[in-house]
Symmetry: C2
Subunit: 327 residues, 2 copies
Amino acid sequence: MTIAVDAAGGDFFPENPVNGALQALAEDSSLHIMFVGPQQLIEAELENHSFDKLRVKIVDAQETIGMDESPSIAVKSKPNSSISVGLREHKEGNCEAFVSAGNTGALLAASTLILGRLKGVLRPTIATFYPTLKGFRLLVDAGANLEIKPEMALQFAKMGQIYAQQIMGIESPKVGLLNVGEEEEKGTENLKAIHAHLKQLDGFVGNVEGRDIFPAKADVFVTDAVVGNILLKFGESIPSALKHMVKSSVKGGIVAKIQLWAAQKVLRASLAPFNYENVGGLPFLGVNGVSIVGHGGSSAVAVKNMIKSAVNCVNGDINGKIVASLN
Amino acid sequence: MTIAVDAAGGDFFPENPVNGALQALAEDSSLHIMFVGPQQLIEAELENHSFDKLRVKIVDAQETIGMDESPSIAVKSKPNSSISVGLREHKEGNCEAFVSAGNTGALLAASTLILGRLKGVLRPTIATFYPTLKGFRLLVDAGANLEIKPEMALQFAKMGQIYAQQIMGIESPKVGLLNVGEEEEKGTENLKAIHAHLKQLDGFVGNVEGRDIFPAKADVFVTDAVVGNILLKFGESIPSALKHMVKSSVKGGIVAKIQLWAAQKVLRASLAPFNYENVGGLPFLGVNGVSIVGHGGSSAVAVKNMIKSAVNCVNGDINGKIVASLN
């Protein structure tokens, strides 16, 4: 099993991708790593580490796509970016998956372009993990499709269920449609049509509301990328906002300071479910390959967990199951 | 100044509306209260209290609209509901405002129907208060208009600015359009059109993202009621979810229990900004009158603060300022 790793992706490259990949390599003796990016950069970083050289390969890609570049322009104008080169290696069968902490939009655009869609898939989608009281659950679409149609929503739900079951270990995943009320007749005409279409799905629990996310009333929350992206970024901002709120709520002397210290300690533990480092990257569902993207700020541990996700996707034959489910 | 209070609205009537209104009465000697609802219920509740009888009036309304009733059907089929009777009293000039902790949809429908729109207003809207690190800010639309057009969005922004300035005391309120990215070209075609239209507005700071809500990058967040409602209900669920997370993160003996106790104490203080009791109800902006709705679970204090909000809307001539701004 060879996993290609974008060594020029994210806010901290090449250190974190290289570091994380070498950690994954050390933990899994059957794993091979293909680093994709500027060769001299990768080699310089690798010099700081000792590792099994027989299981590491470098594929040179001199162009890099910045985190803030326009995805479609960047993918077109930089054919030799680490993202495009890595995905072409994957397409040609030289590796089983590609993982990147780089520009999400560029990775999605290049994945769709280079890998193509799985048979029967209308539109690939990106799912995100959302922290709930029961652990992480899936929110789909989280950024790829700003407007969704009933047929797309049904496919997203099915692909999400397969991912939740195979990779997240959730038996019989429940699907909910994010809406403004529980009743069937709630929402826009499009949401009503999506609801009607989702009814044919095993495990559809109907409309769910904003208040149903934390209690995980569904395991797969279906929505469009506008709602998904706003909720995703809002959720990511909760931990730091709370730290601020906690800090500014405590005023006074030594007793208050001790209380604050205890509270901060407990809060840190409580907010662990929000730690995206542990989730191992988000899958693009529906592309003809395994392409996983991580947070731009991914640590080495986050990269390691992305690679593990990729291995699980390959071993679990996620794509075979998606094709079987949709056709 | 007479404020009409729905004595048959919310989850705890007539106790909380009556109690809260009498508290407001005690704190403001120029205030008169008109209770609207089943007369015998109101009289029975009033017997438990001592108050200035000269400043309290009862208007009988035998029908009540339940919290889960379909708004349009309920408003049509129950012409003598406390909501419709109270709003007619307001329309006829017998009171300066109407406040209710009842069915939000029914109150919006009845307010639009009975009070009508202010001159120049395309569609009335409901704003909600959202807790941020700088205190409450406005999110509009929070439930009335599932789909919005550029002209509507501009009016919502202007009405929100007036409310934020006059009632919330925010000087020069900044307006942000909730979107999937900061750049002007982000989002659906409709979001791009709204962005272009909002550019003519003083104080427009451009697109804002989910992560910009807590830091209050804007004072008035403009969005449609799908995003608004999902965010509103998600936000309301944060405090109880956190309490759960905190509780389940602490395991162990007496030291852990003391830490938990301290943490819970600090967390309670930190989450005070999330306490909707203090915000005093949400205004329907754009209707020809002052109509304010509170959370169904409104306490007496929440009802008291709704009445104060109503008084401030009347004294601040919110509607006069809206008409001047739009025409």
